[in-house]
Amino acid sequence: MSEPVIRVENLRKSYGTLAALRGVSFEVQAGEVFGLLGPNGAGKTSTIEILEGLRTPDAGVASVAGLDPQTAGLEFKQEVGAVLQSTSLPDKLRVSEALALFTGFYRRRADPELLLRRFQLEEKRQAFYSQLSGGQKQRLALALALVNNPTVLFLDEPTAGLDPQVRREIYDIIEELKQEKKTILLTTHYIEEAERLCDRVAIVDSGKIIAQGTPRELKHSSAGTTRIEVRLAKQVSDGILNSLEGVSDSREFEGVYVLHSTRPPQTIVALVKLLEAESNELQSLEMFSPSLEDVFLELTGRRLRE
């Protein structure tokens, strides 16, 4: 295998007494889309911002395109592009001015006109930043990340806070970049995003990577269980659902019972019988094939959005 474009080894970072990163290690190969999936506060942004050169690690090794983000300075910045989770531009800066300004900072330059067209911002070229919608701002952020045709692209929660339609538009753009074989490191807490866009995913929790692999590998590692979510008229006692046929795990989240079953038909029959015996009623039942959410649940006992 060739030399990885991004290499992270035993990265550690604390803010006061809070240990944000507790030994994170992974590698990203050229042309690969690698996702860091985890809940808020898991350490995703700390990791990506260390790789962008915005934060200094307490310990460990971080290397991007063979350069150390902490010491390579302006040379490093020529090579990378990034969409930050929290950033902005001056309100009275026009879209075309922003693109021209940032393009001018780099030696290797993309054509701002092509970027405007590609990100559907042509009609907004004269608009002030403050006049753009959330989706347009995010498209501009992506365009700005590509002004130097970067070797590596960092996307920190690129669709956070956007409505589903805009999110899908951003997915399409990232998929295009993926087809162009850009090396991308992406952080997200959306399962759908990680499953759809990433070649490989690292699940991060409490500053550590708890699982790593392709989405398919990770889902298979969840014992091939199907998730069954049920709402009942009355509460049932702890552990009773665990004893149903085929159930490997059951938990309750805000009135929804989540069962993981290796034999869904048998589990549903057993559930209906149990409810009849207990004079309880089934209000709703949904079945899901294994997802990264289930992997996270199995590994941490918590849901991603908690």
Binding site: E52, L54, L74, E75, K77, Q78, V80, A82, L84, S86, T87, S88, L89, P90, K92, L93, E97, L101, F102, G104, F105, Y106, L144
Partner: protein
């Protein structure tokens, strides 16, 4: 240098699109001029040039205020961190702030000079080369002070408090609002330690045309050293990130920026002749006014 130039152009554009800048950068300085002429210059044409010098000093000193507020706002809004991702150094960003500020005060400076000459019948143009030199160096120095304020304050509120304190000291301890000559000698000596005094003294002497450019060397040197020291300190203390707080001790660097003026002040109060020059200048204007009234 190319990055500095690009950023300077954008900063100028952004300021021109900002109504607040138009008020504080153009309308307010002209308001000061009309107010001062109305109160102190009415029927005393000899004083118009002196008032012009004072108002020019206020216009130039005001540059520190807007700059510090804008930079802190950019940091709080996460705008600076976007620039941090690009191959742009802190030096280029800070230098562009100073250049943009300088260009932006020139219209107000020109308007003040022209209004004084054409509308208020200022006797002569004064020493315009000296005015140009002092405005240029002074704008740089006070902008650099603004950059230091932005670097050592963590929030907009802190910035406003420090700005208010500095602004009051600059205004009232420099001769820009009340002529230094009317203060007790000990206050005049204290004023010699303030950078604002060198700017106000120099501009007042230049607009009245009572001294040649070479006699302003001390003011120009003091302000130039202040500019270099303040710029370097601001570059060292500069922070891109809103979470990167400045430790309390670092705020003492503000004092380091004043060191050149402390040295000049110590020299002046022991061996210099600035205070006697101010006195003579003031008495001469007073005599002119008396003779104008007698006529």
């Amino acid at each position: 240098m190319k990055n500095t130039w690009s950023l300077t152009k954008i900063r100028i554009l952004l300021a021109l699109r900002n109504k607040t800048f138009m008020f504080f950068g153009l309308i307010m300085p002209l308001g000061f001029l009309f107010f001062f002429v109305l109160i102190f210059g009415h029927g005393r044409t000899g004083w118009i040039a002196y008032i012009l010098g004072a108002v020019l000093a206020i216009t130039v000193m005001g540059s520190f205020w807007g700059l510090s507020v804008q930079l802190v706002m950019f940091r709080e809004q996460g705008i600076l961190r976007r620039f941090r991702l690009a191959p742009v150094g802190a030096g280029a960003l800070l230098a562009s702030s100073i250049f943009a500020n300088y260009v932006l005060i020139l219209p107000a400076v020109a308007a003040e000079i022209i209004i004084c000459r054409e509308a208020f019948h200022m006797v002569s143009w004064g020493n315009l080369w000296a005015v140009f030199a002092l405005v240029s160096v002074g704008a740089g120095t006070f902008s650099a002070f603004g950059l230091i304020v932005a670097s050592v304050t963590n929030t907009m509120q802190e910035t406003q408090v420090i700005n208010n304190l500095l602004w009051s000291a600059f205004l009232f301890l420099s001769g820009a609002t009340v002529p230094l000559a009317v203060f007790p000698v000990w206050i005049q000596k204290v004023a010699l330690f303030s950078p604002a005094t060198y700017l106000a003294m120099g501009l007042e002497a230049s607009t009245t045309g009572h001294i040649g450019g070479h006699e302003l060397l001390e003011e120009l040197i003091a302000l130039s050293i202040g500019l270099v020291v303040a710029f370097e300190i601001s570059r060292q203390l500069f922070r891109w990130e809103p979470e990167a707080k400045v430790p309390g001790k670092a705020k003492l660097w503000v004092i380091a920026a004043l060191v050149p003026f402390l040295l000049f002040g110590a020299y002046e109060s022991s061996f210099g002749n600035q205070l006697s020059r101010i006195q003579k200048h003031y008495q001469m204007l007073d005599r002119q006014t008396s003779s104008e009234r007698a006529r």
